[in-house]
Symmetry: none
Subunit: 221 residues, 4 copies
Amino acid sequence: MLQAARAARPKASAGRDPARTREALLAAAFGQIHRAGFRGSDVETILHEAGVTKGALYHHFDSKEALGYAVVDEVVAAIMRSKWVKPLARAEDAVDALVAIVASTPVTPKELSYGCPLNNLSQEMSPLDEGFRQRTAKLFDEWRGAIETALRQGKQRGTVGEHVEPRDAAIFLIAAYEGYLSLGKCFRDACAIRAARNTLVGYLDSLRPPAGDQPSRRRLR
Amino acid sequence: MLQAARAARPKASAGRDPARTREALLAAAFGQIHRAGFRGSDVETILHEAGVTKGALYHHFDSKEALGYAVVDEVVAAIMRSKWVKPLARAEDAVDALVAIVASTPVTPKELSYGCPLNNLSQEMSPLDEGFRQRTAKLFDEWRGAIETALRQGKQRGTVGEHVEPRDAAIFLIAAYEGYLSLGKCFRDACAIRAARNTLVGYLDSLRPPAGDQPSRRRLR
Amino acid sequence: MLQAARAARPKASAGRDPARTREALLAAAFGQIHRAGFRGSDVETILHEAGVTKGALYHHFDSKEALGYAVVDEVVAAIMRSKWVKPLARAEDAVDALVAIVASTPVTPKELSYGCPLNNLSQEMSPLDEGFRQRTAKLFDEWRGAIETALRQGKQRGTVGEHVEPRDAAIFLIAAYEGYLSLGKCFRDACAIRAARNTLVGYLDSLRPPAGDQPSRRRLR
Amino acid sequence: MLQAARAARPKASAGRDPARTREALLAAAFGQIHRAGFRGSDVETILHEAGVTKGALYHHFDSKEALGYAVVDEVVAAIMRSKWVKPLARAEDAVDALVAIVASTPVTPKELSYGCPLNNLSQEMSPLDEGFRQRTAKLFDEWRGAIETALRQGKQRGTVGEHVEPRDAAIFLIAAYEGYLSLGKCFRDACAIRAARNTLVGYLDSLRPPAGDQPSRRRLR
DNA sequence: ACTAACGGGACAGCCCGTTTAT
DNA sequence: ATAAACGGGCTGTCCCGTTAGT
């Protein structure tokens, strides 16, 4: 993500480049918001990090709020899709794919301490701003839809057990995953997080068809 | 909670009552923080809601931060304990108790939209303020400890299956529970939340000893 | 002072003029600080007097402290230089020049009551703020240097006695001069101040070469 | 000073002791004011240092201002008298006494950095508060009077030269002395101060009768 | 398209003084 | 006489957004 269309004019010696300016603003805003939350991100800091000035920001976006919306719609959405939607779309075995995604989540305190950008924003802004609430809800829904579809296909292909309710399982997975990241943000304890991740992988394994069909039952290391 | 020890109130009505003033401040601050987050809570609003003045606030607390810490240490802790620690301590069947607690979580959009006070605060402040991080982590740990102990006792009493790892299961339960509340804050959809809660109850049932030992497997409606 | 380089003013009247805004802030701050001290000067009053707003102030200066530093570095320094350094640099007879400078110090209670801006600031802020201490010390040093140089040249030219120790005499002169202004601030008695000034002129005369070499020994009236 | 009358009741086991409380307040206030100025001294800090509470302060003094006045009238006055008035009253040779007093002024940066309490207060408050102005002026006048009287007696006794104008010389001495302390506050340079003190002693020597009568002309080391 | 200057509301905390109670 | 609780104004400054200028 973030690379978007910037084919022509690679760099006119620091001259005007609206697309680049917009991307720089989005990237800087995403970083700030991820670290300090939306209200904790002051515009000047974002500007400084992006290397542009007020005028540029308010030329591209109507307000700080609009910038925040764009961060959700573009940056956060892109991250979520590249991590969840795309891998699941190409996966042959839904559960294997989910396990791989979960396993790829970082466990270093540094990375954990900022939490999940989508959940952070949703938690902070949902009660305060309907625009943020709707946008983050839409992303959660897209996320859930991708998992649900993968599980549903898995049931047809026989890689997911008949007992699984795709929609409920998808929501449960997202909830547990976000819950772990929330705790990780607070605990910063790689060991606890790793154990938690294993429990989550254990839950994912329980989605497979029972007994003889699928042996696996592997543990993450 | 919040009642503290105030045996003989010397002057009932309009007179000075430091304890009452302090509690009023804590209660008002808790409400504001729950609704708008710590940084979104402005002191004057808290003051107005508590019916006291700046002088009183800064007599009882050194700063807004200190007030926030006290809210975590006293109000949030009291809520968590009365909802989780105490019922679990008296419970004969740990899983039954956990199911009852989870089932008691409200599902109305209004109540959901503010989320869990402990998780809100932890999510908002952990990356920004070490004091909040430590305090919320301590509460999460106490919470986990209460569940873990209950499960461990359950294993001894035979009400919890041998396959259950008390510590991991406790963390997983908290994570999934907080995850649901997070999603609930964003979705405000009672129906989805109820389904999610059922999935969680389903998970809790899986902690019981397998088959013949323990009878029924009820579903929440 | 304060005129800086502003060759071509692009828009004469109501338009934006950063240099003018900055100078207005410095001038207003200087006036307030001179009358009420640095800590006694409130920002809003300075703003009102300068006819600008908070945004303008904090665009040009990082803080009230930074504004105060700039007042020392630019306004107070300019005053000191125009009153002492420049006249001494052009003077043919150092003692004559010093007498003229001392004689030009106003004696009306109104003017006296605010005291010397440099000494006021130094007295008020030196023990509290290292930045102010260093800046005022630097100005005192420049002042001393100007007098010292003039006296040293005077000794070469024969207008200053051989017995004079230029550095010590310069410090003594500054001390006595500031001491008088301090007393004047407190007494507000033109008569006493005039007498004091004469005593100081008497001291200055004692710096001339003894007897026959240099003629008159005038008295100030 | 500060010991006042406290004959009876040496210490009623930390019980009430109005006189002691008053003295503690004055002492703490003097210290704070000396270090941070009158406006820079906050009441709570003084209270903490004195080991009493608000009620005690406002029982003994009407306001912070009244406390400040009392500090001038009692503490600062006592210091000035014990250092200048009393030694001069007993002195046989006025100039010797003055040299001894000046020589006794400390030169360590620590002691210098806070400056002369009387001058500090006079400089800070004279333009702002008529009560402080009058009180400090009264002390400066008493100080001048003591020196003037000593010099006048010296002229009668022949230890002070006929050319000396007692009143003007007294003012000049005070001005130069305070000027040195002012510079010392800013420079914190023991070396410069010592040199300055010598110049001042040199001036004092010039007050003695010329030539054969009094040999001396000593240098301070 | 972009920059710098500027406008102005809001907010936390400081701090003096008063009141209640012993 | 002293302690603790409380009242409440004031101020530095943060920070979002607008506007003049290029």
